[in-house]
């Protein structure tokens, strides 16, 4: 039985498992949370509602997602955040294809928190792990199909003809027999009040007939982002708001003692008030510039952490170099993630053995938009927060916990992200919204808090580091028969949990584990070493370091065994047609495999390196061409073949490959978060350089569609970049680099 949902109370009364329909118009009239962008935010978050909706089929509450307007434009509330990866456009393509509406007619915004928008097949709703499209593709297609069916039903009622006589063209329903047609915008009011049909009744379009999926549809946000019209969290303005800036404790865990010059700072121009927050001081002012200047002038006696501290304390003697040496000194115990064959016997009988130790560096996210949050308490006690986030439900739950408010009293707005790369997950101590909420409460007015770039570098979570010790054995033919990698590290997921889980943290070892090469005896293991630094996810996560280690070491094995690194990979991938095809594709894209060294047309001596990676359900193969200029590595070209199974937008994929290559080159060539004496050496881009345009490489992309299960796109093109470059450098210079960034090394 399908029940019509007229009021929030109806939702609460809904039995578990019910297929539900939301009356859009009645919801607008009936709900108290009309402050949402579209006015039909769902009062979910109440446990009973969540229980009910969780058992309903995902992504079937059509009116919660779609508003078809009288002008025949469509507003889509997207379950995913747009931060440059193109998910808004992809979702418009996917929904539009089945709705039968040109994606260019779509206006897309991020959906509020709520069970209705949990559309991923793994039961989550996050924007990360390169999961948005691949985990929601069938569901979002079906959503479009459901909406189309409702429009057809509405047209049948309005025209007084059976649905079977109707068809659609983009944006309209046609009745061929009478030559009549109705635009979707004319039908939407009636259609959206209809019951949502049985999801099983929706027949999806034959992929051979796709008009928009798989095509280089233009981004919906290109114009707004070229003219300053796009709105990010930092741009939010609400009536009567004050501005705030903070100064954090120099080391996490320290607390605020005496503010020596509080009186003078209170008297500074524009200052409204001075506040003490957990581990920080804040100034609220009528203008942000005044708040910033004043808070930086505050002289605080920071206190060492007390016994009641719950944070990961940053010790006064912590250094990143010292921590890496500490990791290198670890001998165990190690836990196995992969163990195949008989490693000990294979090593004992190997003709040749190779050992090497690799390490990587901490890196920051460095997204261009500094974190901010705007908080407003409304007269009815409800709270609205505007903030960058990759997981709205988790953030709302956290706000509820911190404030004691019920989730339905909290409205979360998720503006565009000015870059994210993993920065905007729920990281204790790394997000400004708890401070903004506390300040808004304290001053009784809305507050927008912006972290300066310096405060961001102080509190950003770091991409983890590892020291990996490799051993391998080669047979008499120089072929690898055994490989062992033992990584001393702490993965980001176990770091966030504060402890090792029952199973190995996959984000610690991915890229060491899961390699497809046919090496019969292998062991991949982790020595868990909990550290003092706050860690987080960074684009391509564990793969961003581990593929550098593994694919570089594999080239060492090729060198030792007298094999060509490309041919060795082909050999180790025999019987794997998907990866063989991919590797051959990148070689073909690069005009054939030519490792060099050779002399280029400009007279420079160059070489090429190759590497592969299989992260986030996709596979990538990269060839890099390098030379040495003034002792520094110059990367001329990156050729990348990527197989995500099947695709939605080849133009956006090419852009994502470019972006992943840029970030990959940045961590390979120059990027490094150095900590000394418990503090980051760099607090801004002057001492923490990120890849400048002059050091970008030309990027050549080939998309291979194997037809396998759809994989991710945002992260997979990154991990193979570093080892391809390092392998090219080794080829060119004879220098095998076992740590990054390359700018730390001298080449000749």
């Amino acid at each position: 039985m399908k029940r019509r949902i007229e009021t929030p109370q109806d939702l609460l009364d809904l039995p578990a498992g019910e297929t539900i329909n939301l009356s859009r118009r009645r919801f607008v009239a009936g709900t108290a949370i009309g402050a949402l962008v579209l006015g039909f935010g769902l009062p979910v978050g109440v446990p009973r509602v969540q229980a009910a909706a969780a058992t309903a089929e995902r992504g079937t509450q059509v009116p919660a997602f779609l508003e078809i307007r009288p002008d025949n434009t469509v507003r889509l509330l997207c379950p995913f955040m747009e931060g440059g990866q193109g998910t808004y456009t992809a979702m418009a393509q996917i929904v539009g294809e089945e709705l039968d509406m040109d994606p260019a007619q779509f206006v897309v915004d991020s959906a509020p928190p709520g069970e209705a928008y949990v559309v991923m097949e793994n039961g989550m709703r996050i924007t990360g792990g390169s999961m948005s499209v691949r985990m929601s593709y069938p569901t979002m297609r079906r959503l479009g199909g459901l909406a189309r069916a409702m429009l057809l039903q509405a047209a049948a009622e309005q025209l007084g003809v059976p649905v079977s006589e109707l068809s659609t063209e983009p944006g309209k329903v046609l009745h061929a027999a009478s030559g009549r047609s109705l635009a979707y915008g004319q039908l939407a009011g009636r259609a959206m009040d209809l019951p949502v049909p049985d999801p099983a009744s929706i027949k999806l379009r034959d992929p051979g007939q796709f008009r928009w999926i798989g095509k280089p549809v233009r981004r919906l946000d290109a114009y707004d982002k070229s003219t300053g019209k796009a709105v990010f969290s930092i741009d939010i303005k609400v009536d009567d708001m004050l501005h705030a800036a903070v100064q954090h404790a120099p080391r996490l865990g320290m607390t605020v003692g005496n503010m020596r010059n509080e009186a003078q700072v209170k008297a500074m121009q524009g200052v409204h008030s001075v506040h003490t927050l957990p581990g920080a001081v804040a100034v609220v002012a009528e203008r942000w510039w005044h708040a910033k200047r004043a808070v930086e002038a505050l002289q605080v006696d920071w206190q060492e952490p007390g016994a009641d501290n719950t944070l990961r304390v940053m010790p006064a003697d912590f250094s990143s170099a010292g921590w890496l040496d500490h990791l290198a000194a670890q001998t165990g115990p190690a836990r196995d993630d992969e163990h195949e064959g008989d490693l000990a016997a294979a090593m004992a009988s190997a003709k040749t053995t190779v050992e090497a130790s690799y390490r990587n560096q901490y890196v920051n996210h460095g997204q261009l938009e500094p974190p901010s949050a705007t908080a407003r308490f409304n007269p009815d006690g409800s709270l609205e927060v505007w903030l960058p986030n990759q997981a709205p439900d988790m953030f709302r739950a956290d706000i509820a916990k911190r404030t004691g408010l019920a989730p339905e009293q909290i409205t979360l707005h998720s503006p565009l992200l000015g870059g994210f790369f993993g920065r905007h997950f729920l990281y204790e101590s790394a997000n400004p919204y708890p401070q903004a909420i506390a300040l808004a409460k304290a001053v009784g007015r809305p507050v927008k808090l912006i972290w300066t770039r310096e405060e961001e570098f102080l509190r950003d979570v770091l991409r983890p580091v590892a020291v990996v010790k490799f051993r391998a054995g080669l047979d008499a033919d120089g072929m690898p028969v055994a490989i062992e990698a033992v990584s001393a590290t702490e993965g980001p997921t176990e770091a966030l949990a504060g402890k090792q889980g029952e199973k190995i943290d996959p984000t610690a070892l991915e890229g060491l584990s899961g390699k497809a090469y046919a090496i019969p005896n292998k062991r991949i293991a982790q020595i868990y070493v909990k550290g003092p630094a706050m860690l987080g996810y960074w684009r391509s996560v564990g793969n961003s370091l581990n593929d550098f280690f593994y694919e570089s070491f594999l080239d060492e094995l090729a060198d030792k065994g007298g094999k060509d690194p490309y041919e060795l990979r082909l050999h180790l991938l025999r019987g794997n047609p998907r990866l063989t095809t991919l590797l051959q594709a990148v070689a073909e894209l690069a005009g054939g495999w030519k490792p060099g060294p050779f002399t280029a047309e400009d007279g420079s001596k160059r070489a090429r390196g190759v590497a592969m990676a299989s992260p986030f359900g996709s596979h990538a193969a990269v060839i890099a061409e390098v030379s040495i200029e003034n002792g520094q590595v110059k990367v001329h070209d990156i050729w990348q073949a990527i197989d995500p199974g099947s695709i939605v937008n080849p133009a956006i994929i090419e852009a994502q490959v470019n972006g992943a290559v840029a970030l990959g080159l940045s961590q390979t060539l120059l990027e490094e978060a150095v900590w000394q004496n418990g503090a980051p050496r760099a607090r801004n881009y002057d001492l923490y350089p990120i890849l400048p345009p002059q050091r970008m490489a030309r990027v050549h992309v080939r998309i291979v569609q194997s037809g396998e299960k759809m994989g991710g796109i945002g992260e997979p093109p990154l991990p193979a970049v570093a080892p391809a470059v390092a392998n090219a450098v080794a080829r060119l210079t004879g220098q095998r680099v076992r740590s990054l960034p390359l700018d730390r090394h001298t080449f000749s």
């Binding site: 440059g84 707004d224 070229s226 942000w288 770039r453 852009a655």
Partner: protein, 151 residues
């Protein structure tokens, strides 16, 4: 003090050393110009002052009194700026978009001074940072504009 921004005159009250960026964003409510670093490192805050690109985060507001300031909000009112925007859309440059206001301003300033810049001139002028890695798309767009291309 009196500022000329986008062909309009504004009366603002700010200390002389307040960065132009915060006057534009907070006092005048034009948020297309972005804060990225506050140190003239990233270029997200680029605006035009008398046709030259400057980094508003380190430009004291008193220094631009009597000068003609152009922000991204009025970029399409400039013939060259309009072409730049069209090229940015044509080449689908933006990803997250946060740095692109500054990139468009930098490209506009370059082409105002040098309608047909060489690759070396493009490289010297287009130095703003982009974390999303849109550099190749930016280069393609500016290159096409330099050749007087279809955009």
């Amino acid at each position: 003090m009196e500022l000329r921004i986008n062909q309009k005159t504004y009366q603002v009250e700010a200390e002389a050393d307040t960065p132009l960026l915060w006057v534009i964003r907070d006092d005048l409510g034009m948020t297309g110009t972005k804060y990225g670093c506050g140190l003239a490192q990233c270029g997200a805050c680029s605006v035009l002052v008398d046709g030259n690109v400057v980094r508003a985060c380190v430009t004291p507001v008193a220094g631009v009194v009597g000068r003609e300031i152009t922000t991204i909000e009025a970029i399409e009112e400039d013939a060259i700026g309009k072409r730049v925007v069209a090229a940015w859309v044509e080449h689908q440059v933006a990803q997250c978009g946060y740095c692109q206001s500054g990139q468009v301003m930098a490209a506009t300033a370059l082409l105002k001074h040098t309608p047909k810049p060489s690759d070396a001139q493009i490289e010297a002028a287009m130095v703003n940072l982009c974390r999303c890695g849109t550099y190749n798309a930016i280069h393609a767009a500016v290159h096409e504009l330099a050749e007087g291309g279809k955009a």
